[in-house]
């Protein structure tokens, strides 16, 4: 094994990526806010909190069913901010790295998607930077977007408490499976579409009815629901039990997942959030989510059962058995 070079697994959201971040990028780091490795960073700002985050996006193909890299880049950073409670986004910065020869028509389409998504999220690109690389030095386009939001109360992804209900704001697995299918021309028919969307409006609706009852939030992007929940459970030192039968998965995503041999819980979502909610307030939160166009399939999928100190996620299968979930790198379709 060659350990002295970066491999694709280092960017896949699994253990290799954590090892790279902890062992190289954060080596010697002592600042608690950095070491928290939350979706963004929160710094005191008067009597409120300034939350900022950034997200670099590369995706193949750049246009996929349900979205494109422009919508992804805005949603990615807006969602990171929203997950920390900062639903009012002050503004975004967009860095565009282009490959020589990239189609200007494609760029215009991406840019109009960026603007439309900003409008949806109630924010704007306020500044940015543009670079062009020689042909072959970058694959088409890289969008790196940063954003700043403000909030009275910061929500941490480590805040789960025993007794909390785990809520997901809609169907899981759609983005990862749609992009995988489009990238490889798998020829899967059906309505398999990415869920990419800015979630600050949806999260604002939930926080408006039960702000103090939402103890933790995280968007299950790379690594999927399993990756996000294992991270949350480990940070909080609690055990989470999920009920497989109550996890919403669209017919199209379930069919694609079965055919490819991929667990929908392990693939990326770009328009969903996981919330840990005090059990006595979960109905109120679900009602608020259901009333929002992006949350009508929100469901309670599990519960935080105990404070174990180590953190684990168990899945009660639809078959009446129980197994431990492990996070993993990007899943690959099986051979046969």
């Amino acid at each position: 094994m060659t350990d002295d070079r970066v491999k694709l697994a280092h960017g896949a959201g699994g253990p290799a990526m954590r090892a790279l971040i902890r062992g190289v990028l954060l080596e010697g780091e002592t600042h608690a806010e950095t070491l928290a490795m939350d979706d963004g960073a929160a710094v005191p700002f008067g009597d409120r909190w300034l939350v900022f985050s950034s997200d670099a996006h590369v995706v193949q193909p750049i246009f996929f069913p349900g979205g494109d890299i422009g919508r992804l880049s805005v949603s990615g950073v807006v969602n990171d901010l929203a997950m920390m409670g900062a639903c009012d986004i002050l503004g975004l910065a967009s860095n565009v790295v282009l490959e020589e020869g990239f189609s200007l028509d494609s760029l215009r389409t991406i840019q109009s998607s960026v603007r439309a998504t900003c409008t949806e999220a109630g924010t704007r690109i306020l500044t940015g930077d543009t670079k062009v690389m020689r042909r072959g030095e970058v694959d088409g386009i890289v969008l790196s977007t940063a954003g700043v939001g403000i909030t009275d109360r910061v929500v941490r992804n480590a805040g789960l408490r025993p007794g909390d209900a785990i809520v997901v704001t809609g169907t899981v697995g759609d983005h990862g499976l749609a992009v995988l299918s489009a990238r490889n021309n798998l020829g899967l028919r059906g309505d398999l579409r990415s869920d990419v969307a800015p979630l600050n409006g949806l999260v604002r609706a939930a926080l408006a009815v039960a702000s103090d009852a939402v103890h933790a939030m995280k968007d299950p992007t790379r690594g999927g629901v399993t990756g996000a929940l294992v991270e949350m459970a480990e940070k909080a030192g609690v055990t989470v039990v999920l009920e497989e039968a109550s996890i919403p998965v669209s017919h199209a995503a379930r069919a694609a997942a079965e055919v490819l041999g991929i667990d929908p819980l392990l693939v990326a979502n770009e328009g969903k959030a996981l919330l840990a909610v005090a059990r006595d307030r979960v109905e109120v939160v679900l009602d608020a989510l259901h009333a929002h166009p992006l949350g009508h399939q929100a469901a309670c999928i599990g519960r935080v059962v105990e404070n174990t100190g180590s953190g684990a996620v168990l899945l009660e299968t639809g078959f009446g058995t129980r197994r431990l979930l492990e996070r993993d790198s990007d899943p690959l379709p099986r051979i046969c």
């Binding site: 094994m1 060659t2 070079r5 970066v6 491999k7 694709l8 697994a9 896949a12 699994g14 253990p15 290799a16 490889n184 021309n185 798998l186 055990t239 039990v241 919403p248 998965v249 669209s250 017919h251 379930r254 069919a255 079965e258 041999g261 667990d263 059962v305 105990e306 168990l314 299968t317 639809g318 078959f319 009446g320 058995t321 129980r322 197994r323 431990l324 979930l325 492990e326 993993d328 790198s329 899943p331 690959l332 379709p333 099986r334 051979i335 046969c336």
Partner: protein, 376 residues
Amino acid sequence: MTPLGFQFRDVERGRALQARLERAVARAGRPVTVMHVCGSHEQAIARFGLRARFPGQLRVQMGPGCPVCVTDAPEIDACIALARCGVRILTYGDMLGVPGRAQSLDDARAEGARVDVIYAATQAAEIARETDEPVVFFATGFETTAVATAAILLGAPPANLFVLSAHKWVPAAMEVVASTSGGRIEGYLAAGHAATITGWGLFEPFAARHRKPVVVAGFEPLDILSGLALLVEHVVAEEARVVNAFSRCVTRDGNARALEALFRVFDTSGGEWRGIAYVPAGNLTLRPDFAHHDARVRFATELASAAPVVERAHVAECLCAAIMTGQALPTDCPHFGAACRPDAPVGACMVSTEGVCRIWFEHGVGGARATEGGGA
């Protein structure tokens, strides 16, 4: 929303089949050992937590059922050697992380080799058509994927497409396992999808020769429970028959067109299966008619002059071989979950989603730990 295939995951029917399985094992009045020969079976057993529900007296061993795991290290080394010569390689995603004796294709790619993942054999031909340079398809897997490779070679492929075949023929390995287990394995759960190609009739001489029952089973939890119940019932009754428990997909004669295509393109030859043994007639090699698409012919010089491979540390202690022949469990291996993880595999069983070690790792040690230890 009703999940697809839910009728094969019905909890009540599952309980009934579990009870039937328990009765069959109780009737034996002794420990019963059977083997499944398919990574997808192990995956379903782990995914649905079935292992923890098997009767205590039933041992379900894992056979050589993962196509990625049984690809021999020198076969991977040959592919890496071509990649390092600058040849463009196409292969299935699971193959990337599999360690050869020194490196994986992933390692070679990080060092600059051109290795791309494809999802279907047809993509190999499409990609080759887009270029003039030679393209090598590192073709792995059992009869299920070998048929797809055969189809592209029979479908007027571009002249610059070369196949490096590491395809394997499962029935040959079952033969080896049956002859070397000393009768310890009392019955076999055969893979449903492979049988859609071969037909269940193929196992009749096997059952007769070894005097053991074979049950062809599908991959939903009810398929597996009913397959095991039937298998143990036949073991107890000492009926060395073949039973088709996957009749919604498998016929007696299989897919005649696919088989015909398979053997027009491939011939069986003896070869090593990683960790298992030398398997007579276990490898599928290209027939001379297809020599002009055979990477071993086209790149014979490059393969012969490849630098010798130095085996890296850990590999010698890897228990994959014992695990794949049902003599050890992943948890018996000192590297399992420690030095050997899905993102840094030591042995082949940790790579593929059909590899036993990876399945056990991802599903919390075979689906048993969570159930046994979780009081929550």
